[in-house]
Symmetry: C2
Subunit: 301 residues, 2 copies
């Protein structure tokens, strides 16, 4: 089934203990699309400025990513982020941030995308996520991401968005903040009461937890990556693998959701093995399936 | 097969956000024995002073724990530990520590225990672990625990012990310190090179990783405990469930080791649900098996 993503296209500068990647392509919609396109065609909705040095048609040349929803806003500038990952990669600091197009009105969802059935609303202001979602006619499964600043300062907008979403994909600190509960299982249940039927809580190198409103739960460790060079895009790649598998299979029962979490986990493990999109660009679907089977073998008893 | 544990019997005072448990029974050998006795008979080797207010024969009355190796050292005093777990339980401080008997010569392994096949050397100075192990005639599978102070200050003794051990059960910070490597998969492989054929790295609420010298790996999340009142004894209960299952089955192939990690995980989840031994005292083997099946269901895809 059709899969739509709304989110950022970014010019990133990333420093990690393994090196520096200056002015490279990043952004949630880019990582998501690259990840999900291993599974199913993707429709991308985002905005860039004329300063964007990347030809996205070329970037996605070998992928089934429809760029009809990519707006080039002549009077504006592309979103830029610069950050540094510190020793052990377990925390990062933002060195500079230029919201540019992201501080403006959201892009328009093209008519040809309005019948999308699977929708991923990457992180941005919940009010903008609303405005994007309203442009889709009858979505079957809507997943959203969010972050601490929206939980702190735009909680009513976020709660209203959650009432219209089927799934929230969120990291552990954000889940605790949103639920006001440290225990992640309890936090997941509190978030389910806010509206979504599925909550996926990402715990970085400790894996992820999924809870459903039917009371089902799933816990999966992260793939044991021997090499982590750049964690940027891990979360959006996870979401891409997750939503890509759901859209490809056209199902959202708990067994399919479990496999989707495993696919998200595996795709993210390739992303973090190299800078920017290099990790995802150097593999094909068979690499993902092979690592999926390895992850199954590593965790089954 | 026969299972021997050498380790501490303690008088603990524990403070957590859920309450205070003063002068309660604790110690590695106690938690280990209580946990392992769900699986197989246990032989306990340890020392207490005449000040010990607990009648261990009564404590283990309903369990198959042989106390022939429990020495009451008249001129000494029982090991005492007092600690506080802080908000979220993810770190603790030691409020006071009286080594007493633990600073003296190790106990004697009784003749009736010398034919033990499975041996767990709970945490103490590696030199003492050596002296205890030397008293066992032909052990089939020896697992050891250790901690940061021995890695820092008694590394040669520890490395010599590892050459004689089949398995090291260690927490993640200690594994990183011992291997001088942050990545836990790499750390596990470095530790395997020191001698043991199996390394189990415990990551607290993030579960555990097991690596074998044959190249096999296993990753298991922690059981998602909704209630954590007192983490004291979690590691020794894990070791008890792990070694208990191995000794009960009499096998140490990787499939059996994987199930042993799952049993250790489950037993520890009962320990932390209440203070001191209350969590382990309120269950029977069927509760463990039921949670084992739940853990399997939670993690399989």
């Amino acid at each position: 089934m059709s899969l739509l993503v709304t989110g950022s296209v970014a010019i990133d500068t990333v420093k990690t203990p393994y090196g520096v990647s200056e002015n490279c392509l990043g952004g949630a919609a880019v990582y998501f699309s690259m990840a999900a396109s291993f599974f199913t065609p993707v429709r991308l909705v985002g905005v860039i400025g004329p300063d964007c040095p990347f030809d996205l048609a070329e970037v996605f040349a070998s992928r089934d990513v429809d760029l009809a929803g990519l707006e080039i806003r002549e009077q504006s500038k592309t979103f830029r982020w610069a950050g540094t990952y510190h020793k052990n990669m377990d925390n990062r600091t933002t060195d500079s941030l230029e919201l540019n197009v992201l501080a403006e009105a959201p892009p328009t969802v093209p008519d040809s995308f309005k019948d999308s059935k699977f929708v991923f609303l990457a992180n941005t202001a919940p009010r903008l996520q609303h405005q994007l979602l309203e442009q889709v006619q009858r979505p079957a499964f809507v997943a959203a991401d969010t972050m601490n600043c929206w939980i702190e300062d735009h909680l009513d907008d976020l709660k209203s968005l959650l009432e219209k979403s089927n799934c929230l994909i969120i990291n552990e600190d954000e889940a605790r903040m949103l639920a006001k509960e440290h225990n992640l299982i309890k936090a997941g249940e509190i978030i389910l009461d806010m509206g979504p039927s599925v909550v996926v809580i990402k715990k970085g190198e400790s894996g992820s937890i999924m809870c459903s409103a039917d009371g089902d739960k799933f816990i999966l460790p992260a793939y044991p990556a021997a090499e982590v060079k750049d964690p940027t895009g891990a979360g959006d790649s996870f979401a891409g693998g997750f939503m890509g598998h759901l859209a490809q299979s056209g199902k959202t029962d708990f067994e399919t959701l479990k496999a989707a979490v495993a696919y998200g986990t595996v795709v993210a493990s390739f992303t973090i093995a190299d800078f920017s999109l290099k990790g995802l660009n150097s593999i094909d679907r068979s690499d993902i399936d092979s690592r999926f089977e390895t992850l199954r073998k590593l965790t089954q008893f």
